[in-house]
């Protein structure tokens, strides 16, 4: 009897695992098939380097690729010290009751819908950026979007960092204590190196979230279709581009090109994951 239930359970779990793995592959296949009219002619790579100007028959994503890269990387640059600082505080430097409070608050933050951040951005952050930097024009720019995005991704990063911190072998910590290490020394020499895999995963998840988010960029990055020259320039991300173009004439080449755009986003995301893992492996101890 137990053998049968075990077998059944194994089959069920195998299928759910296979289904989720297949879903990712299917999405990729779907994008490939629908993007084929543009990819097939060997034009895919020229799409990556051209401008977007449907009036002139140009359907390139270069501005959107740079926009996505700039916004997501910058948001991680803002979010990383913030998250790591929070976790260090929670992981021994601060009093326990504040840590618990923070922990609950961070978990709550992960549930806030991104449209709320977008709204806050429009009414609070954008006017602030506009008055602070006169060259920011409308205030809708890479800086505004990435600041807001960093708020969105920090809770995710904090949770993964914290998992990393918690997974450090307690015996190492005890050993450090026995050697007379103070809080800071224990953190820097024992916990941080031990938590490294968790930190790398946190950055990957954060980066993925930042690259995949649509609404914040759509609402406060300005959506201009040019390669940004500074962080105060208005820019458009790949995701915002898909959202904007998917409403246009469904028979147009512009619409068909967004499948290739989705494919680009998919590949870019995968590359980012690989890059961060590589980087993490090189620096990682043990």
């Amino acid at each position: 009897m137990t053998r049968i239930t075990q077998k059944a359970a194994r089959i069920v779990f195998f299928f759910s695992a296979a289904a989720s793995a297949m879903a990712a592959a299917l999405v990729f296949g779907f994008l490939l098939v629908f993007g084929f009219p543009l990819i097939g002619g060997g034009e895919f790579f020229s799409l990556l380097t051209r401008r977007w100007s449907p009036g002139q028959g140009l359907y390139g994503f270069l501005p959107m690729i740079t926009g996505t890269a700039a916004i997501s990387v910058l948001s991680i640059v803002f979010a990383f010290p913030l998250s790591l600082g929070t976790v260090c505080f929670m992981g021994g430097l601060g009093p326990a009751w504040i840590s618990r409070l923070l922990d609950g608050f961070v978990r709550f933050m992960t549930g806030i819908p991104t449209v709320i951040y977008g709204f806050l951005g429009i009414f609070l952050l954008v006017p602030f950026v506009r008055t602070l930097f006169t060259s920011a024009g409308s205030g809708m720019c890479i800086l505004s979007a990435s600041l807001m995005l960093s708020l969105l991704v920090s809770p995710t990063m904090i949770i993964f960092f914290k998992d990393g911190f918690d997974s450090v072998d307690f015996r190492y910590i005890q050993a450090a204590d026995a050697l007379g290490a103070d809080n800071v020394q224990r953190l820097i020499y024992v916990i941080l190196p031990g938590a490294w895999p968790g930190i790398v995963t946190g950055v990957i998840m954060g980066l993925g979230r930042a690259m995949g988010d649509t609404l914040i960029a759509l609402m406060i990055a300005g959506n201009a279709v040019h390669v940004p020259g500074s962080i105060l320039d208005s820019t458009r991300t790949l995701t915002a581009h898909i959202a904007l173009v998917s409403a246009s004439d469904y028979e147009s080449l512009a619409f068909k090109s967004i499948f290739a755009c989705g494919l680009t986003l998919y590949v870019l995301n995968a590359l980012a994951v690989i890059a961060v893992r590589r980087l993490g492996r090189k620096r990682g101890p043990v």
């Binding site: 401008r51 977007w52 100007s53 449907p54 009036g55 501005p63 449209v115 429009i122 954008v126 006017p127 506009r130 006169t134 060259s135 024009g137 409308s138 205030g139 809708m140 649509t214 609404l215 759509l218 609402m219 300005g222 959506n223 201009a224 279709v225 040019h226 320039d233 208005s234 458009r236 959202a243 904007l244 173009v245 998917s246 409403a247 246009s248 004439d249 469904y250 028979e251 512009a254």
Partner: protein, 277 residues
């Protein structure tokens, strides 16, 4: 697209449990005693009129529910063609290809101007067409030479699915270039918010949407107002259409008849558009 739809979704639920509008002898009568749903999406310029018409109908007939979503003209045409909504609004006539593919019937119930707008604090109140084209193509980048204070111009435009954009591009810019650094917003409402918040903004909105939060700019000496659109003096104008898949029937038919009736046309006038009847 679903994100966009979410932001712009304006679902109307008018609870009229306490009072019934006294029955007026008029075109709203055919709705009485009927129940059902009308789903509308598409052009964002149409929304004020749609909301008011829906309110009138639903106040008198609580059994009828009318949902109104935005999305832009392209979305309206696509969704009605695929049967997702009953009425797809567009600020441009559907192309021949679209009409043929989906078997669309179009009903034009108002004429709307597309006016250039700036922040109310901007002293610039008039531009020539040539200046406007230079601003949008990126040749003029500062308000100083145009009679404003020294500040960089921030150009706002709409996405490609916008009927408002299409008529502005065709009739005000003569299909000229729009500078790639222009900011994109996704509805007439979002355009107004952007211009109202940005002292250096220039953009364009449906004349029916103009209010105190933005300042209309005269183009070649003609202000974008309902009177100049009506007289034909202001030429950056287009029809507002409601499209159905095939001939409308049932509630959808009544709704379109209501828009074209004297009462419906009254709403059109009230919301700042030019009536067709």
């Amino acid at each position: 697209m679903s994100c966009k739809k979410n932001i712009m979704m304006v679902v109307l639920v008018v609870a009229v449990t306490f009072f019934q509008v006294p029955a007026q002898a008029g075109t709203i009568d055919p709705f009485s005693g009927l129940s059902g749903e009308i789903r509308i999406s598409g052009g964002t310029a149409h929304i004020p009129v749609m909301k008011e018409a829906a309110k009138q109908i639903m106040s008198a007939n609580p059994e009828i529910s009318i949902s109104i979503a935005g999305g832009g003209s392209g979305v309206g045409i696509k969704q009605v063609g695929e049967g997702i909504v009953d009425i797809g609004n567009s600020g441009r006539a559907p192309s021949d290809a679209e009409k043929e593919k989906y078997g669309l019937k179009l009903f034009k119930w108002a004429i709307d101007g597309v006016g250039v707008a700036v922040n109310p604090d901007n002293p610039v109140t008039s531009l020539t067409k040539a200046q406007l084209k230079d601003i949008y193509s990126g040749k003029i980048t500062d308000w100083k030479g145009l009679g404003g204070k020294e500040a960089p111009i921030t150009v706002y435009t709409r996405d490609e699915s916008s009927g408002t954009r299409e008529v502005f591009w065709k009739k005000a810019l003569d299909k000229g270039d729009i500078v790639s650094s222009a900011n994109f917003v996704v509805s007439n409402g979002a355009m107004k918010t952007a211009i109202a918040n940005d002292p250096n903004a220039i953009g364009y909105v449906s004349v029916g949407h103009m209010d105190a939060s933005v300042a209309g700019v005269a183009l070649d000496g003609v202000s974008p107002t309902i009177d100049t659109v009506k007289s034909g003096e202001y030429t950056v104008a287009r029809g507002l259409y409601s499209n159905t898949k095939g001939d409308p029937s049932g509630l959808t038919k009544l709704f379109i008849e209501y828009l074209l009736s004297p009462e419906g046309q009254q709403i059109v006038v009230q919301k700042g558009f030019v009536p067709v009847n």
